[in-house]
Amino acid sequence: MYGLVNKAIEGLIRQQAGEEIWERIKAKAGVEEEFFVGMNPYPDEVTYKLVGAASEVLGLSADEILREFGEYWILYTAQEGYGHLLTMSGRDFKEFLYNLDKLHAHVGANFPSLQPPSFRCTETSDNELVLHYYSGRPGLAPMVIGLLNGLGRMLNTEVAVTHTASRARGADHDEFLVRYHARISS
């Protein structure tokens, strides 16, 4: 997994719980790295360990953490210089979701070892669509929910997500029913 992801986890925990907690979580996870290189691929277990340790230390479920992380991820990447890329990915929530796979496709083309997930949208009505999420990594679906929420916040859109199909429960892939409604900016 991208170092960027671990970095974001670090950022989230430091922001929410502080330096000391982060050091404890890192120690618990047995992670020695002082610094995560953004574009460096790290073994997935690093990320899982961090999330697991954070769950233990913070007393939150892994799902909660991942959801929280997903939301933070959007804000974090926007802050960390990914703002332009995100902006280019869509002018509104819907466009963004439709470009989501394209974005990951480009990343995957350039950095194949990262094995980015794939997304597909199925429009069901005016303000509703089904987001299909395909990933080689298990258990990250809650993070997608957080991502959608974060995106909604970034793009000033009210979003309601329902996890309609779950790979963990035997489905082929994860599906999310996303209802969205652009807020009138004030």
Partner: protein, 1063 residues
């Protein structure tokens, strides 16, 4: 215009090439892709050049030039925004247009974002979008690199800071360990010393390098070693903590073998598996000693307080008793022990104890007041009901400015008070007795003096009557014994006056040298008798005149000098005078009287200046004296602002020092009025011959001061060598008395060598008359011509006068006259007088008597006006020298009484003596009936002048008043033969006087009168004598107008005598 689609459906073409554009031959943009058109909305229909510039290739902006570059990569840059396109120019020959196929050049995500491009704007085939993650990755990597660099720098900085802190900390720890006064030793489990600090070396005496890796036991007393090693092993093995060599009773072993009392504390730490112990070891030798001393001091203090004769009570701040002592319990009749009273309530106790005091309420009120003030109170007196008197001190106790309590001290002073009262009574009684004694002494002295005056006076009268030699000798003894007794009585009187504080200093301006020389004069005769040199040296920088009491100063000097002369058998007595400026015009004038006498033993020195004390009782018997002289001197010196002391070496003489404080007098007063000393011709060479070194010194100094060149010889032999060597001299000054050859003989030899005219002056301590006599005896043997004879002690003024005469006579070559001295000596012969001196000061008396003795008079002296009147009743004195200020009755009052007592003719001529040379004095004297006036200090010339004035007046009066009275010889002296001889001579001389009168030769006339006068007085023919004296004066004055008449009278008197003789 139709859209150019190149065979594709328009929507597909637009989707495939959202950034294409088409330009025609006119270089006008005729078609644009939808996205490009969104970015450049005004471009369609515009000139290509107006919208874009061609960055690459470098070709002119022309259709044909562009058409030619079909294989080149074109970079187009929009002129109005940041858009840059990369693509290919494809000319279309059929339409005559150029198609540009390209897409935005994406180098900067921010720019892309600014242009408002989104992923949807790019065709899927367009690889440009794939660059976006790469660009993003590049930026991320850069950011990471920056962040890492920053992190690294920060870490480096922190590391450096940390290292520095560590180094400092290490240094601190080292310093702590090194400077600790306690030894710090670290050992391992096997008791090996790994570290020891400097204090270890100091305490145990081992150099540190010797200790390293050694067992700690080497620092322990033998008996503790085994225990310690076992203890450590046990602890390491079992964790059982029983390490010895820690605690209070621990002893170390110094390298030199002595044991050291120590206090040891341990700590341990683990490094890895290993256990280490650190011991902090304190040498408590000093502390033990201090504690022991403190304990001892405390015990002593406790014992002291317990045994103190004063009652002690220490109260705490809360007024509870902290400490008291047995004496306190005894004093206030308390049955408890001092210990059992600790913590007692002092306020309540004071209320109980207060009942014992005479004034309980005042006692309690005062306690409250004192405790409130918190100021030290001492010696407060309290009476008890039982009659005891207590004295109480209060001392507040402050520790570092904080009040902690206070101390009461009570003393029973009943006995002391009683003794003090007795002592006071005894002292009052003693003082009153002493006063009475003083008054008695003064009275007695005075009472004794009156009859003594009678004894001395009448002895004098008796001596004028015809006596046998034996009788005269007895009388002389009576008179001199009387005078001695009077001196003693005067001393006592003086002393009692000083002691009772009744003596006041009479300060006036006088010449310092005169005062000293007069004092010397008084002792000159006695010194000469003993063959002592008497001299004075006055430092040149001493002021010529000073303001002080000359009489009292002279009294001190005379006393010191007379002691010096008295106790010196051979050698010299020298007065040295020096002055030291103090402040302003004031000087400290010091006098040193140095003798070569018997000296004073050191153990007697302190008694010297005490009253009634002589160095030795045997001395009193041998030398006489009251022992009051020095005590008087001491008090007089103190009254004159100075002090007196002595230094002496027994056998080598003594030096008595005296100082006074005095202002310098006005400069003009340095010369006595009316006398101006002639200046001496400078550069004259004077040979000085004297065996006495001090005399030579004095003479050399005087010569140098006068601008003369002295040449000194200490013996006649040396002098003759100088003479024979041919050295030039203008005069010689010779001492009369020298061991090998006397001055007269030397004078003869000098004149033999240098000629009879060579002026020689002789200094002699023997009287003139004796010298004259001696000279007369040896006239033939030593025919020396003396230019002057001067008396020793050497006095500046006569010496200067004599030298001035010598040097001026040399030029006029006239003979050396010695008239003045000669005349002085003979005054009593030509002008016989009975003289009384009334003067209270003993020294002044002596000065006056001495001067008169020089003139041949034996005068009497009394101490005040009453005594003078008394003396006049006994004897008809011709002249009274009357001091103005005297006790009992002053001179003015005495004169008034004398004048009121009877006819003036039978009364004495009164000459006033006064120190106050004030204008009003003369009038006051004359008003009181005095006749003349002489100022003090007495000068010989003035005294002579005054006596001569009286003689002349008396003679004149005798001539005028005594017209017809006959004269007569003293029948007891004059034989008829003598009388005949006198009358015969006189008739010849009267005849000569007649012719001198006729020839108007007053000088001859006077000289002839003088001849008759001498004989007349000798034979007792007083009238003739007086008349001749008058004629002599007239002749000398050159006034012969009244002479013929008087000459007739003289002839009458002579013939009357002649007839009386015949009958």
């Amino acid at each position: 215009m139709d859209a150019v689609n190149y065979g594709l459906p328009p929507r597909q073409f637009a989707a495939a090439f959202p950034f294409h554009l088409v330009i025609n031959r006119e270089m006008r943009i005729v078609q644009m892709g939808a996205v490009l058109q969104r970015l450049c909305p005004h471009a369609p229909g515009s000139d290509f050049e107006a919208v874009f510039e061609i960055v690459r290739p470098r070709i002119p902006m022309r259709f044909d030039a562009i058409s030619a570059e079909t294989h080149a990569i074109f970079f187009l840059k929009a002129r109005w925004n940041e858009l840059q396109l990369k693509g290919q120019m494809l000319p279309e020959p059929e339409t005559g247009m150029i198609l540009f196929l390209g897409s935005p050049q994406l180098l900067d995500l921010q720019k892309v974002s600014e242009l408002g491009l989104s992923l949807a704007d790019f065709a899927i085939h367009d690889m440009t979008t794939s660059l976006l993650p790469l660009l993003q990755a590049k930026e991320t990597a850069l950011d990471d690199a920056r962040a890492l660099t920053e992190m690294l720098s920060q870490q480096r900085l922190e590391l450096r800071e940390r290292n520095r802190e560590l180094a400092l900390e290490k240094e601190r720890y080292r310093a702590v360990a090194e400077t600790a006064s306690d030894a710090i030793v670290t050992i391992d489990e096997k008791c090996r010393i790994l570290f020891a600090n400097q204090a270890t070396e100091r305490i145990f005496g081992y150099p540190l390098e010797e200790l390293r890796d050694q067992s700690l036991t080497m620092l322990m007393a033998d008996r503790l070693r085994g225990m310690h090693t076992d203890g450590v092993s046990r602890y390491v093995a079992t964790g059982e903590r029983r390490i010895s060599w820690s605690g209070n009773e621990v002893y170390g072993l110094h390298r030199d073998g002595h044991e050291i009392p120590l206090e040891v504390s341990y700590s341990q730490y683990r490094q890895g598996e290993k256990l280490f112990f650190t011991g902090i070891i304190r040498d408590i030798t000093q502390r033990r000693q201090t504690a022991a001393q403190l304990h001892a001091a405390n015990s002593r203090l406790s014992a002291l307080i317990a045994n103190l004769q004063e009652a002690i009570l220490v109260e705490r701040k809360d007024r509870r008793l902290l400490l008291t002592n047995p004496q306190f319990c005894r004093m206030f009749l308390l049955s408890q022990s001092p210990e059992s009273l600790v913590d007692a309530d002092c306020v309540a106790a004071a209320r109980r104890t207060g009942e014992m005091f005479a004034e309980p309420e005042r006692f309690l009120a005062r306690i409250e007041e004192v405790v409130r003030d918190k100021r030290v109170v001492v010696n407060e007196e309290w009476a008890l009901r039982d009659g005891r008197i207590l004295e109480r001190d209060y001392v507040p106790i402050f520790v570092e400015d904080v009040y902690r309590g206070h101390l009461w001290v009570y003393r029973d002073v009943t006995e002391r008070k009683r003794i003090a009262a007795e002592l006071r009574q005894a002292k009052d009684a003693a003082e009153s007795a002493s006063r009475a004694k003083g008054e008695f002494l003064a009275n007695m002295s005075h009472e004794i003096r009156t009859p003594m005056n009678a004894v001395i006076g009448l002895t004098g009268i008796l001596m004028d009557t015809p006596l046998s030699a034996e009788q005269r000798d007895y009388l002389q003894t009576i008179r001199s014994s009387g005078e001695d007794l009077l001196t003693i009585i005067n001393d006592i009187l003086d002393f009692s006056k000083i002691e009772s504080g009744r003596l006041e200093m009479d300060r006036h301006t006088f010449t310092l040298r005169d005062c000293v020389e007069e004092a010397l004069d008084l002792l000159a005769a006695r010194a000469a008798e003993k063959g002592l040199e008497l001299a004075c040296v006055i430092e040149e920088d001493a002021p010529a005149t000073i303001v002080s009491d000359a009489t009292r100063l002279r009294q001190i000097l005379v006393n010191l000098l007379s002691n010096a002369v008295k106790f010196t058998e051979a050698g010299e007595v020298v007065v040295m005078v020096a002055a030291e400026p103090r402040n302003g015009h004031e000087y400290e004038i010091s006098f040193a009287v140095r003798d070569t006498g018997i000296g004073i033993p050191p153990e007697r020195m302190d008694r010297l200046f005490q009253s009634f004390s002589q160095v030795d009782a045997s001395i009193t018997r041998h030398y006489g004296g009251t022992g009051l002289g020095l005590a008087i001197c001491r008090r007089l010196a103190e009254l004159l602002g100075g002090k007196i002391w002595a230094e002496s070496e027994p056998g080598n003489g003594s030096t008595f020092y005296c100082t006074i404080m005095a202002e310098a007098g006005p400069a003009s007063a340095s010369e006595p009025a009316g006398v101006s000393r002639p200046p001496l011709p400078a550069g004259k060479r004077v040979l000085i011959v004297d065996d006495n070194a001090t005399s030579r010194l004095i003479l050399r100094r005087l010569m140098q001061a006068w601008g003369l060149i002295p040449r000194l010889a200490s013996s006649p032999e040396q002098a003759m060598e100088l003479i024979r060597s041919g050295e030039a001299f203008d005069a010689a000054l010779l001492d009369m008395r020298m061991p090998e050859m006397d001055g007269l003989t030397l004078a003869t030899q000098i004149q033999a060598a240098r000629g009879g005219d060579f002026p020689v002056a002789l200094l002699s301590s023997i009287g003139n008359r004796e010298l004259e006599y001696e000279r007369g005896e040896r006239e033939t043997a030593s025919p020396a011509r003396l230019a002057a004879i001067l008396t020793k002690p050497i006095k500046a003024a006569p010496l200067q006068d004599a030298l001035a005469r010598i040097f001026t006579q040399r030029s006029s070559s006239s003979p050396a006259p010695l008239q003045l001295h000669r005349a002085s000596v003979h005054l009593a012969e030509t002008l016989p007088l009975q003289i009384l001196v009334a003067e209270d000061n003993v020294v002044n008396q002596k000065v006056a008597l001495l001067m008169l003795r020089k003139l041949g008079y034996r005068a009497d002296a009394v101490g005040n006006g009453l005594e003078a009147i008394d003396a006049l009743r006994r004897r008809n004195y011709d002249v009274v020298l009357m001091d103005l200020q005297m006790p009992e009755m002053d001179g003015l009052e005495a004169t008034r009484r004398i004048r009121a007592s009877g006819p003036r003719e039978s009364q004495p001529h009164v000459v006033a003596l006064t120190a106050n040379a004030m204008i009003g004095d003369r009038e006051r004297c004359l008003d009181a009936g005095m006749d003349d006036y002489v100022s003090k200090p007495l000068q010989l010339e003035e005294l002579i002048a005054a006596l001569v004035r009286f003689g002349a007046k008396r003679a004149a009066a005798a001539c005028e008043e005594d017209e017809s009275t006959d004269d007569s010889f003293d029948s007891q002296v004059v034989t008829p033969e003598l009388a005949a001889l006198f009358l015969q001579d006189a008739s010849v001389q009267v005849a000569a006087m007649r012719s001198a009168l006729a020839e108007e030769q007053p000088e001859t006339f006077g000289r002839l009168a003088h001849l008759i006068k001498g004989g007349a007085f000798t034979l007792g023919a007083r009238k003739i004598g007086l008349l001749c004296q008058n004629l002599e004066e007239l002749g000398r004055a050159g006034r012969l107008d009244g002479a013929p008449k008087k000459l007739v009278r003289l002839e009458q008197l002579l013939s009357g005598l002649s007839q009386a003789g015949n009958s």
